[in-house]
Symmetry: C2
Subunit: 451 residues, 2 copies
């Protein structure tokens, strides 16, 4: 049995949905189908999730929201018409969509989560109806039906382990397909809460683990995961096979093909993940597997780069005499719900690296002021243009001169390195530079290792 | 005006004290003399400070402590006899020494601090008397006379900034020498508290800053600070001149010539420090100067290695989602008064590096148990044999290929590198290895760079 997940671009139009349905129908093992909300049909198009966010805001301000609601409904209607689905089959979808502003919500965050989740919810309902219309036994199931329980903040929820106990109890009929909406779960009190953006990958992984399937197929719009970003490297090599850990390290710094958090349930359930292309399902894609018995084909599997980092440099004599300095720092971060990424330290200094999207300019000011007041550093500097490049490969283990071989050509190109972090895992090297150097870092390493 | 500090080995015997006094007398600028307690006269000898610790314990258990007190007094008496000092001049020293068990102390820690401090206190008194006996105008001054105020724990105190205001008020006569005991200060309530072991260097630096002298001469038993440990490298090069920051980074990992904390007051007062040999005062020694206008003579100034580190490896998926993980960790460390040195992190893991002397086996167990309970890591490992090597040099700045050139030969020698930390200061590279590899690391880097 397989879990198959389709991304938004794979379900953006009737034509795309048809390709997805053919993929499902071509393999009886593809029993559990996780769908995203319809994505962009072209570069100028707007994703249904973004339309729903606009809908949520518009309907808060006035009762004059028919325009945006109709625009959303039209997306589903167009797909239905492609399959000659009778209009009456859409009545329930329309009713649910237009009822959203009238429901009761615990607060504004839950309201937003519910609006957003309907992109997936309605798409899963529609997909089930299309399959049924085509004479295929299909059943719509959603988080409340199976007990996919989440906790945490309404728009950045986390799966609750109870989910896996609940999923074990679900009986599946041998000849039916389950169509399941991605991206959201229900809280213990029954409200909808979503994962972070792109979270349908997470739903697929949770179901893959919960139903203990043989394979989790993740269909997207690229042939494979590439060894480097194709917008930086011309025709980078596709990665045929890699380990969970390699994928974790690569997703960290910008490999956006597969959601950062989605790998965890797959790892925990030891479910192999196959990233494939909806438009070319015959291609092998990228297979992500457990570490056991993995034989690396190359030294470097991939190079990922993330430009959206910032760093705070603090200098104070004897700062590591006593654990108090870092404790106070963490208390300040925790108070403002700020998470940091890394904290390399020298003898009398400390650099704290953040993901930029977690920090507004205002928050940076507040944090810097509090640090100045309570820690009184001798020097404090905010570095706004920090980039992190990850060089990853199971084949890097025990290659003791590799780090030097990676760094030398960067030095030759006058790239100034702010941080080097050879992970304890020994399968990656993290390189911190200024943002403007990041593409040169990736190109130089790629060219030297033909990664 | 100069502050001159003599270490314990420079004052261990009458013969040594004579050399020290000749150094003082040869330069009228050497006005403020900071003395340590008499050190070892030979490898089998016991330092007076260690005798005083034994005295403190012995006198706690019984009134039968004359033996150890006499043994200590004998050390001062022998020095006095070398200079034909009349026996009556020692009466005060003997009285103070034998009175120690009878004084009132706030607690056992203050008692220990007071016992230990008398090694320096009595030696400064004796030295002043010898100079006076030789017809030289000399005055014994101690922390309570000048307001050298300390705060913190009784045996690991820190200077209070008020000290510098107090020192500004002290009037020195032009033709007198001040003999001042190192190692201790007085608390705001008038009790003796000591710096950490070897803290006479700190006293010298405080006086150098407080009296705003031209030079702080630190006399010890080596010709200079060497670019590497002479027990690992045959005849390493002496360092003629280096910056404060270079010295800070080198002392961190085991350059024990000059006390780690002693540089701070010198830096704050911008007082140059000259480390010299009591037995060869004509040699230039090592001059430690501010960074401004410093022109490095070589790429690498020195290589220091510290074997006494340990590391705790923690692995948990998504550990950096939220600042809570590190905060809880810091709360545990703070609760047990444990300070950490560095905390390099990967995507899902964290290594915390400690100085071993700060941790007993029992404390390690307690901390690991608390981490297991409150943070529930997926993996936790204690690495007991961690070593840190520091490669330091102002000349390393802007040498962008240097890090690669340092690492490559280490890889060739099959040395596995656990951590690389290129400091934000850009004048040092920190290399973490297993303890057994540390000497090979130092040798390899030294040989390659002829440091």
């Amino acid at each position: 049995m397989k879990v198959v997940k389709f991304g938004g671009s794979s379900l953006a139009s009737g034509n795309n949905v048809d390709k997805a349905l053919n993929i499902i129908k071509s393999d009886p093992d593809r029993k559990i189908i996780v769908v995203s909300a319809p994505g962009k049909r072209n570069a100028a198009d707007i994703k249904v999730t973004d339309l729903l966010i606009t809908y949520a805001y518009t309907s808060l301000r006035s009762n004059n929201y028919d325009n945006i609601a109709n625009k959303i409904f039209k997306r589903y209607e167009l797909i239905a018409q492609y399959f000659d689905l009778p209009e009456k089959e859409l009545a329930e979808i329309k009713r649910l969509l237009f009822a959203l502003p009238k429901l009761d919500y615990p607060n504004a965050d839950y309201r937003m989560a519910t609006f957003k989740a309907h992109g997936e919810r309605l798409n899963a309902m529609l997909t089930a109806k299309i399959l049924q219309h085509q004479g295929i036994k299909a059943r719509f199931l959603e988080p409340k039906d199976v007990g996919l329980i989440v906790t945490g903040t309404p728009n950045n929820a986390e799966v609750n382990p109870e989910t896996y106990i609940n999923l074990k109890r679900i009986q599946l009929q041998t000849d039916e397909r389950i169509i399941f909406p991605g991206f959201y779960g229900i809280t213990p009190s029954g409200h909808i809460a979503t994962f972070s953006r792109g979270g349908s990958d997470i739903t697929g992984a949770i179901l893959a683990r919960g139903f203990n399937v043989d394979l989790y197929e993740n269909f997207t719009d690229v042939d494979a995961i590439f060894s480097a970003n194709p917008s930086i490297i011309d025709h980078p090599k596709p990665i045929k096979k890699m380990t969970y850990q390699e994928m974790r390290e690569l997703s960290y710094a910008g490999f956006s093909v597969f959601h950062d958090e989605a790998l965890i349930p797959a790892i925990q359930g030891e479910i192999p993940v196959n990233v494939k292309n909806t438009n070319a399902p015959e291609k092998p894609g990228t297979l992500i597997v457990p570490e056991d018995n993995f034989v690396p084909q190359r030294t470097i599997t991939g190079i990922a780069g993330g430009k959206n980092f910032a760093a705070l440099y603090l200098r104070k004599y004897m700062l590591n005499k006593g654990s108090g300095f870092t404790l106070k720092l963490m208390e300040i971060f925790n108070k403002h719900h700020v998470s940091y990424e890394h904290m390399p330290s020298g003898i009398d200094d400390l650099t704290i690296i953040f993901k930029k999207d977690a920090l507004s300019d205002q928050l940076i000011d507040v944090i810097c002021n509090e640090i100045q007041t309570s820690l009184n550093p001798d020097q404090m500097q905010w570095i706004d243009d920090y980039a992190i490049t990850m060089v990853v490969g199971e084949g890097m283990k025990d290659k003791l001169t590799l780090c030097a071989s990676i760094l030398y050509p960067l030095g030759k190109k006058n790239i100034s390195i702010q941080m080097i972090n050879q992970g304890a895992s020994q399968i990656s090297i993290m390189i911190g530079t200024r943002r403007q150097d990041e593409e040169a870092v990736i190109k130089t390493i790629y060219d030297n290792f033909n990664a």
